[in-house]
């Protein structure tokens, strides 16, 4: 841990990524008789795009749920920013700077795009029901600066046209985009994306890949990404973890993964769409 925390890492593209910001160690997660995750360890470095791949039911989503506190593993440790993390509630983890999107879109369907993304700034709003004297002084200023951030995100994701639209009415691809916007609004240190491109057409996938790369490059946001499309993964990931039946069967750069025989046999050899 100590060494990794300072070492940097040079990727295949010659990008230098930072020291480890999150590390899962020997995680085991069971649901009754089902072992969703079995003794898995890996790390995520600051500023990288880290992909998690594997067939359906491999335990990928469960892993993200462990990282953001929805699931509590029976065994193992999560280290974040060089500290062993005590068991926490998801909302506390959000305050630590981890934001996410969901495999099955989880938006506030009755709210507009604007309100959804604004709600993503929850951790940046001063707390207390009474502290926030409505629309007065400090609260007004804060609301204004939050608005500004939200507008930047809306511009960045090119969704100005649907600012005021109730998100429940939006097509699937745009909903995914709004959900990304809401996660970005938190200005997270670590962004967890669970199949952000599932169900998208080629063009939508290209847009989404571009947004993810831009976020990563412009704001230095660390991204952990679950994705089935190997083309996309090889394109945008710096390093890849491969899971199968709850076990880790590979971990390395895209090039290493492509050559890894175990991974080829278990996953890459077959089609996944």
């Amino acid at each position: 841990m100590s060494l990794k925390a300072v070492e940097t890492f040079v990727t295949e593209d010659g990008r230098s990524i930072g020291p480890v910001i999150l590390e899962v160690k020997d995680i085991t997660l069971k649901f009754g008789g089902v072992t969703a995750i079995q003794n898995i360890s890996f790390d995520i470095r600051g500023g990288e795009v880290r992909a998690i791949i594997g067939p359906n039911g491999a335990g990928k989503s469960s892993m993200l749920n462990v990282i953001n506190g929805f699931y509590h593993p029976q065994e193992g440790e999560v280290w974040f920013k060089n500290e062993l993390r005590a068991p926490m509630k998801p909302y506390q983890i959000a305050y630590q700077g981890i934001a996410r999107t969901f495999q099955n879109i989880a938006l506030f369907k009755g709210m507009s795009t604007l309100d959804n993304i604004m709600t993503g700034r929850f951790t940046h709003m001063s707390s207390g029901i009474f502290a926030q004297a409505w629309w007065k002084g400090a609260a007004e200023k804060e609301e204004f600066s939050n608005r500004e951030k939200v507008e930047q995100i809306i511009d960045f994701l090119e969704i100005q046209k649907i600012r005021k639209t109730e998100v429940g009415r939006l097509p699937y691809g745009l909903q995914k985009r709004v959900e990304l916007g809401r996660a970005l609004a938190a200005e997270p240190r670590l962004l967890l994306l669970d199949e952000p491109m599932a169900g998208m057409n080629v063009e939508e996938k290209e847009d989404m890949s571009r947004f993810i790369l831009d976020v990563n490059e412009e704001f230095g946001t660390t991204v952990a990404l679950i994705e089935h499309d190997m083309g996309v993964v090889m394109d945008i990931a710096d390093r890849v973890v491969v899971m199968d039946y709850g076990k880790k069967i590979g971990d390395g750069t895209p090039e290493e993964i492509r050559k890894n025989q175990v991974v080829i046999d278990a996953y890459l050899g077959i089609s996944h769409d």
């Binding site: 909302y91 959000a94 305050y95 969901f102 506030f108 009755g110 951790t123 029901i129 926030q132």
Partner: protein
């Protein structure tokens, strides 16, 4: 023409005023249902408990006096003359907020992720416990509640329009309207309000942006406590604080069927419709069929409505998944 008949307008207006009160009680249900998916059977008892507490503070009752007498032989039932209404209202609100906190910690937290029906049953239990505690704390006798609101018919309306409208009902409606508008502003423009709507829409997503469910539940049950306090005070001022007060919840049920369980505008419009419909029916049809229609009219209207629009006036359309 009936439109120029002051009696017609008297019926409409008193119906609207009663409707505002129904809407208020229904609103308490909707808030909790939206935020936590719980149908809160205890809402009526909350109103009773709030009113009992208010009277207790106002008249200087010692809580649990009978219990203290039985256990320690203390004979005093009052600590003094009581306190002024404003202070008593404030302290009652504090008690309701404290109660909300206890409910979240003792009832809701252990039952998180349980089925709706289990939570519903928990609130039935809560209703009985609260009724018992209310009895034990403040006694079971009927109490007069006077919060200093004007009483008797409005002379102004009587002289100028010939309508007989109770001042108390007008004030109750005004207070209810202020409360509803305040809640709307709170929910639209504050961080907590936005969080409340977020939780109502999607628990998981709300958690992921940093919203604590327990805090939201506490806020929601506190607001319901406030709504219950206002409803309890208004109802109590009209007909005394007694255990039948908890039955006002039964008035809210048809309102909810009409307005939908998840819609705040639905609760308001539904309440008004039932208030007006009930009074009109009672005055124009009632005499022909022997009166006492107010007991069942609301349910009949709601049932008719259910046949044609099961999701209520503003509820989301329910589409069967196949």
């Amino acid at each position: 023409m009936f439109l120029f008949d002051p009696f017609f307008w008297e019926v409409v207006i008193s119906g609207l005023l009663a409707g505002v009160m129904y809407a208020l009680v229904a609103l308490g249900f909707v808030l909790i249902f939206k935020a936590s998916g719980i149908f809160n059977f205890a809402q009526g008892v909350l109103a009773l408990f709030a009113a009992l507490t208010l009277v207790g503070f106002q008249t200087g009752q010692i809580p649990f006096a009978h219990l203290l007498e039985a256990l320690f032989g203390l004979h005093a039932s009052h600590w003094g003359e009581g306190m002024n209404t404003v202070l008593a209202l404030f302290l009652s609100l504090v008690v309701m907020i404290g109660l909300a906190w206890l409910i979240v910690k003792i009832v809701l937290r252990p039952l998180v992720n349980q089925e709706g029906i289990i939570l519903f049953m928990a609130t039935i239990g809560l209703a009985f416990v609260l009724e018992g505690v209310g009895d034990l704390m403040w006694g079971a006798n009927v109490k007069r509640l006077d919060v200093g609101l004007p009483e008797g018919p409005s002379d102004f309306l009587l002289d100028n329009t010939g309508m007989f409208i109770e001042k108390l009902e007008i004030s109750a409606a005004v207070v209810a309207i202020i409360l509803v508008v305040t809640l709307m502003i709170f929910s639209q423009y504050t961080k907590m309000g936005r969080a409340l709507r977020a939780v109502a829409d999607d628990h998981q997503a709300a958690l992921s942006v940093g919203i604590s469910l327990e805090t939201i539940w506490w806020v929601v049950w506190s607001i319901s406590g406030l709504v219950a306090l206002v409803a309890g005070v208004m109802w109590g001022a009209k007909s005394g604080v007694q255990f039948s007060l908890s039955l006002i919840a039964l008035k809210a049920l048809p309102v909810l069927m009409l307005g939908g369980f998840t819609s705040i505008p639905g609760a308001i419009i539904g309440g008004l419709m039932i208030g007006v419909g009930e009074k009109m029916f009672e005055f124009y049809i009632g005499p022909m069929i022997g009166g006492a229609t107010e007991n069942w009219f609301a349910y009949m209207l709601a049932l008719l409505f259910l046949l044609f629009r099961p999701q209520g006036l503003f509820g989301e359309k329910i589409i069967e998944r196949v």
